[in-house]
């Protein structure tokens, strides 16, 4: 009889523990590649962090400006030792270090942004930014007069290349004669160089400037020249109200909230997640007043199709710069193909090297 009582007690304590586990205090850590003051990519992730910090029972912390080599490994180890429950690392170069650390700390959940490797306790995720890029391309293609668009690009990595391609496909869907010219700056936030790069594109006749860096330098260049621009990361309209047509923007809050809740409930599984517009992770910033109603309607209609899943964007036939068919007629590019994209679609002027 006593044995049963004891057992019952153990069960009860177990039950209480489980119940307690459901709203267990969660510690969530973030590793950023740049200071959150970059006004761009890391900043947008940090907005997501702030959203989950506001959840009951969740505390968060972050380490910013962490180089992608051994330093990031140390930072993640440190977080895991301090018993963080979830660690988000938001740059590609953190992938291998995170994989190493994930093996050492099997109880911690690791989430890597923008890579391709997973482990039992490590998932990867990214947003389908290319969907919003495509829509911004439609706007740019409709607004150009000279049929030359400029794209100030950061580093020739697949994420950026995919964005340029989606943008170009969007441009060509409304304006088949337009071309997109690309300039690489090899910077993520050097406003002066990025502005200069935009000006170099304006000099060769571009009349809409898009960008993939964190600084609004290119926006300023467009406004000063009296032409249009497409922002990135967050609504950049305040920097160039007369030029800013729209911007593909990040919104990490819904996704981060979901991951935290899943881990808390114990339903989290390691996976390669690639949420998009349908999940609210990427979106298009409000249109500037200069975008005509019919263009807005057309883009919004296309956006509805993307959200519904009927517009996949990278659907063949798609040719590369040399006119060679890379995605066959009617075929939809697979996620691995998109993840490893290293070639430009037809209509882009520039090199991926």
């Amino acid at each position: 009889m006593r044995v049963w009582k004891a057992l019952l007690a153990v069960l009860l304590i177990g039950a209480v523990n489980t119940a307690y586990g459901a709203d267990k205090e969660m510690k969530v850590g973030f590793v950023y590649v740049s200071p959150i003051g970059d006004a761009g990519y890391s900043y947008s992730h940090d907005k997501g962090r702030q959203a989950i910090e506001a959840l009951p029972g969740v505390t968060t912390s972050y380490v910013e400006a962490v180089p992608e080599g051994p330093d990031s490994e140390r930072v993640m180890q440190n977080m895991a030792r301090k018993e963080f429950d979830i660690i988000f690392a938001t740059s590609f170069g953190y992938m291998d270090p995170m994989l190493k650390v994930a093996k050492q700390f099997p109880k911690t959940v690791f989430m890597h942004c923008s890579g391709f490797k997973t482990a039992e306790n490590m998932g990867n995720y990214f947003g389908r930014m290319y969907q919003a890029r495509y829509l911004s391309g439609m706007v740019a293609g409709a607004m150009t007069k000279g049929n030359v668009l400029g794209y100030v690009a950061a580093f020739p990595i697949p994420e950026v290349i995919r964005g340029i391609n989606a943008f170009t496909l969007g441009v060509k869907s409304v304006n088949p004669n337009a071309t997109v010219r690309v300039v690489w700056t090899k910077t993520w936030y050097d406003p002066a160089t990025e502005k200069e790069a935009a000006k170099s594109l304006l000099d060769v006749g571009a009349d809409v400037i898009a960008q993939h860096q964190d600084s609004p330098g290119p926006q300023e260049a467009a406004q000063e020249k009296g032409v249009y621009s497409i922002g990135y990361n967050s609504d950049m309209a305040t920097f160039a109200p007369k030029a800013h047509l729209t911007a593909p923007v990040w919104n990490w809050a819904p996704y981060y909230t979901k991951v935290v809740e899943d881990v808390r409930k114990g339903t989290w599984k390691s996976e390669a997640a690639w949420p998009g517009m349908a999940d609210g992770v990427v979106d298009l910033a409000p249109f500037g007043p200069m975008v005509p109603k019919d263009v807005q309607d057309k883009v919004n209609a296309e956006k509805a199709k993307i959200v519904a899943g009927t517009q996949k964007i990278f659907v063949g036939p798609i040719k590369d710069q040399n006119g060679e068919v890379k995605i066959a007629d009617g075929v939809v590019a697979t996620d691995p193909e998109l993840l490893g994209m290293t070639w430009f679609v037809e209509g882009v002027v520039g090199t991926t090297k």
Partner: protein, 354 residues
């Protein structure tokens, strides 16, 4: 107001006095940092203790600090060799890059070689590449009298972009989904960890190389000639010392040591070549070498302290949400106060007589 006057000491300040000055300088910089922390809304005592805990307060922290000190130490050792001759090599960053490139070239070309051949070959190529990158400014200086500061600085940018060129181009791992990184090194090309610690055998390389450099300057004729020429170029030339050859020698040695650091970083810590390997150790090395007055043992201590500071600052961010930039502020303050404290090694302040 009490007016002070500076007078020269008969004897340089002894070790006890030096330690006192150093500690005073450190306390002063920490005090200023603490005030800044307080203004930023963080408890200064908590902040400083978290900083120390994070840097040296546990076995892990200590290992991390030593691990980070390894490349800084080797680069600083190299820089110190050139500085002995008063050749201002600020190109350790580029020489480090070339070392990593050289080692990677061997590691990717002959992945199947046994470890005892492959690692020495990688070291050899890293030293050769780094040394060559150091030799170019030396030759230009000697033949055309171009200033080595500007040439080494420019060559840093060129080396980093060359590394980019390789990693974004011909050496890109075909399985990396287009990301800029070489394939991972084979097991034989990796310098392992010492026992169950996080520290790799690079630490032993540092000890050996540090000792060798110490003996080189202490006991060899060339080492002595370098010191003598550094102290007084004109006198050395007059005495018939081969100044031009010494310039080339120190730049090659300097580059080779930085190259070795690049090899270790690629082989032991990253296990491949990727652009993020470049985090400015070559510039940190200049500060470390100077603070340590170019002495190998002091360089070791300074490297561990500076590495520890950088490691500790991460804890400050993680535990107390202090921005990353704060690390730069503490580092700058420490350097400036320690430097100012150096005055008391050779001088003293005495009240001015009326």
């Amino acid at each position: 107001m009490l007016r002070m006057r500076i007078t020269k000491r008969q004897e340089p300040l002894g070790i006890g006095g030096s330690c006192f000055v150093l500690l005073t300088a450190l306390s002063l910089s920490l005090l200023v940092s603490a005030v800044l922390l307080y203004l930023g809304g963080t408890s200064p005592i908590r902040g400083i203790s978290v900083l120390f805990q994070g840097a040296f307060g546990s076995r892990y922290a200590l290992e991390d600090s030593i691990l980070k000190a390894i490349p800084i130490f080797l680069c600083a050792l190299g820089v110190a060799v050139a500085f002995r001759l008063k050749i201002w090599n600020i190109g350790a960053e580029g020489q480090f890059a070339l070392g990593a490139i050289g080692a990677t070239w061997i590691a990717l070309s002959f992945p199947a070689w046994p470890k005892f051949i492959l690692l020495p070959a990688m070291i050899g190529m890293a030293m050769a590449a780094g040394g060559l990158w150091g030799l170019i400014p030396a030759l230009l200086r000697q033949k055309l009298r171009t200033n080595e500061i500007i040439v080494t600085l420019m060559m840093n940018y060129i080396a980093i972009l060359f590394l980019d060129f390789l990693v974004y181009g011909v050496w890109k791992d075909p399985t990396s989904f287009g990301f800029p990184m070489t394939p991972g090194f084979s097991e034989q090309a990796i310098v392992g960890k010492i026992g169950a610690t996080a520290v790799n055998w690079g630490l032993v390389h540092c000890l050996v190389l540090g000792t060798l450099v110490f003996f080189f300057f202490r006991f060899t004729r060339i080492g002595f000639e370098i010191k003598a020429s550094g102290d007084n170029v004109r006198a050395a030339r007059y005495a018939g010392l081969p100044y031009d050859r010494l310039v080339m020698l120190v730049m090659v040695m300097s580059g080779a040591l930085a190259g070795w650091a690049g090899f270790l970083e690629a082989s032991a810590t990253v296990n491949r070549l990727q652009p993020s390997i470049m985090v400015g150790y070559g510039y940190t090395a200049i500060v470390v070498a100077w603070l340590a007055r170019l002495h190998p043992l002091s360089i070791g201590i300074a490297a561990v302290l500076l590495a520890g500071l950088r490691v500790g600052v991460e804890s400050l961010q993680l535990d107390l949400q202090v921005p990353a930039a704060f690390g730069g502020i503490i580092e700058g303050l420490i350097l400036l106060t320690v430097l100012a404290g150096g005055l008391f090694t050779h001088y003293r302040l005495v009240p001015r007589k009326h």
